[in-house]
């Protein structure tokens, strides 16, 4: 299948990319890893007149800690997250998820920024960044701004990014002592989008839970934050009863639709099971 015609630009700096977007307005689309956009263009579900390819903008890739935050450049490939020692040692939730996004070939192209900007409710990084309480840096004609992940993800394939804006990086608060996270994904086969998946991040201080984040993948029209489950965990002793109660609340927060991957009831129950498993692993990783 052949995509429609378009005009192609390959800027090497963010400023050039922003200028191209400003010049072409609503005709233009950004091309990141292309692993969602190109399939859509092949099916002619997307036919942008102008593509601004970010693959040559080196300043948009990279993984580093600074100023109390982990910063992941928008063009950082899923495979770079998967192989990063920093991620493996300090951000187990991201490491878990990076290894199960799509398949290794897609991970060699697909990017963090592309995933979040695409806002697929079945995208794994949306719920991961929700659980982590991440924020995203955005550059645009009006200058730079910061959005929380909850502000960014608006609905199915919809974000609050304005025309001409580029998501430049994701910022995750550095984990405090006593933190742990885990991602549990149920997929029909390797490389598939989730039937259901759950991201959790908890912090334990003085024997009780001081912070909890829970994000749900593929069980609603957008990424879901299970706020009631988070609230119930916070202040609890993180014993198994507390984890079970939170898992029930997470299942109640899900809003799945029946499809080839399963019925509503099945998916909702899987949210319960996956939340419990993820919480148990997160607590173990948080130590003591």
């Amino acid at each position: 299948m052949i995509p429609g015609q378009f005009e192609y630009h390959a800027p090497s700096t963010l400023d050039e990319a922003l200028a191209l977007l400003a010049e072409h307005g609503s005709d233009a689309r950004v091309l990141a890893g292309g692993q969602s956009l190109i399939p859509l263009m092949k099916l002619r579900l997307a036919s942008p007149a102008v593509l601004v390819d970010l693959n040559g903008v080196d300043s948009l890739s990279g993984i580093e800690e600074s100023d109390g935050q982990l910063r992941i450049g928008a063009m950082t490939r899923h495979s770079a997250l998967e192989r990063s020692e920093l991620i493996a040692s300090r951000y187990p939730l991201i490491a878990d998820a990076a290894a199960v996004i799509a398949d290794p070939l897609v991970r060699n192209r697909g990017t963090t920024g592309g995933s979040l900007a695409h806002a697929d409710p079945a995208g794994d990084l949306g719920s991961v960044m929700t659980a982590l309480g991440a924020e995203v840096g955005v550059a645009g004609p009006g200058g730079a701004r910061t959005l929380s992940i909850d502000e960014l993800l608006l609905g199915p394939f919809m974000t609050t990014l304005d025309e001409g804006e580029i998501l430049t990086e994701v910022r995750v608060p550095q984990p405090e002592a006593g933190s742990g996270g885990a991602y549990e994904k149920l997929e029909r086969k390797v490389g598939d989008f989730a039937t259901a998946a759950v991201a959790v991040q908890i912090t334990r201080a003085n024997g009780s839970c001081s912070a909890a984040g829970i994000g749900l993948t593929a069980v609603g029209p957008t990424t879901i934050r299970a706020s009631e489950a988070e609230d119930a965990l916070t202040g609890s002793s993180l014993d198994d009863d507390a984890l079970r109660a939170a898992a029930d609340l997470a299942a109640a927060a899900s809003d799945p639709a029946a499809d080839l991957r399963g019925s509503e009831e099945y998916k909702r129950d899987m949210v319960r099971v996956l939340t419990l498993r993820a919480l148990r692993r997160a607590v173990e990783r948080a130590g003591g």
Partner: protein, 156 residues
């Protein structure tokens, strides 16, 4: 049309392409290297896998213009001076194919794996090739072929 410069299997080429041309079509149609296959329309099968600057990617999901300034390796580039690449030897020795449709993609993914890890476990091979679908072999002999290739490389 945009002019790109791309090195394919070691030979630098200057080619005029329409931006919408997919890399796989450049390879198969313009360059007549038909060892790279197309097995789906949805970026699922991996039959189109090539190495782009050494990294295995689905060439049906990259535009040819994006390969400007890059090196592309296809299955035709594996043989060197009449000698089969160790991965090709492995697939021959261990019967790593039946119909052969997935084989070029499988081999390129395996070449990239063996660059990083010359002694992969069965699990590591299965992980690495999990984006390449095979409808014939059940993967058992493919795993053996890749491990065989690893041995050939290690023994020099």
């Amino acid at each position: 049309m945009t002019q790109i410069e791309v090195t394919v299997n070691g030979a630098a080429q200057q080619i005029d392409v329409e931006p919408r041309l997919l890399l796989v079509h450049l390879i198969r149609e313009d360059l007549q290297l038909t060892g790279t296959h197309i097995g789906c329309d949805t970026t699922h099968c991996g039959a189109c896998t090539v190495l782009l600057d050494g990294v295995p990617v689905k060439s049906c999901t990259v535009f040819a213009v994006q390969a400007n300034g890059s090196e592309v390796t296809t299955v035709e580039g594996l043989e060197q001076d009449g000698a089969l690449h160790p991965v090709q030897q492995g697939f021959t020795e261990e019967h790593g194919l039946q119909c052969g449709f997935c084989t070029p993609g499988m081999m390129l993914t395996s070449v990239a794996l063996l660059e990083q890890n010359q002694d992969p476990s069965e699990d590591e091979v299965r992980q690495a090739i999990s984006g390449n679908l095979c409808r014939c072999t059940g993967y058992v002999n493919i795993v053996k072929s890749v491990q065989h290739a690893g041995r050939v490389i290690r023994e020099g």
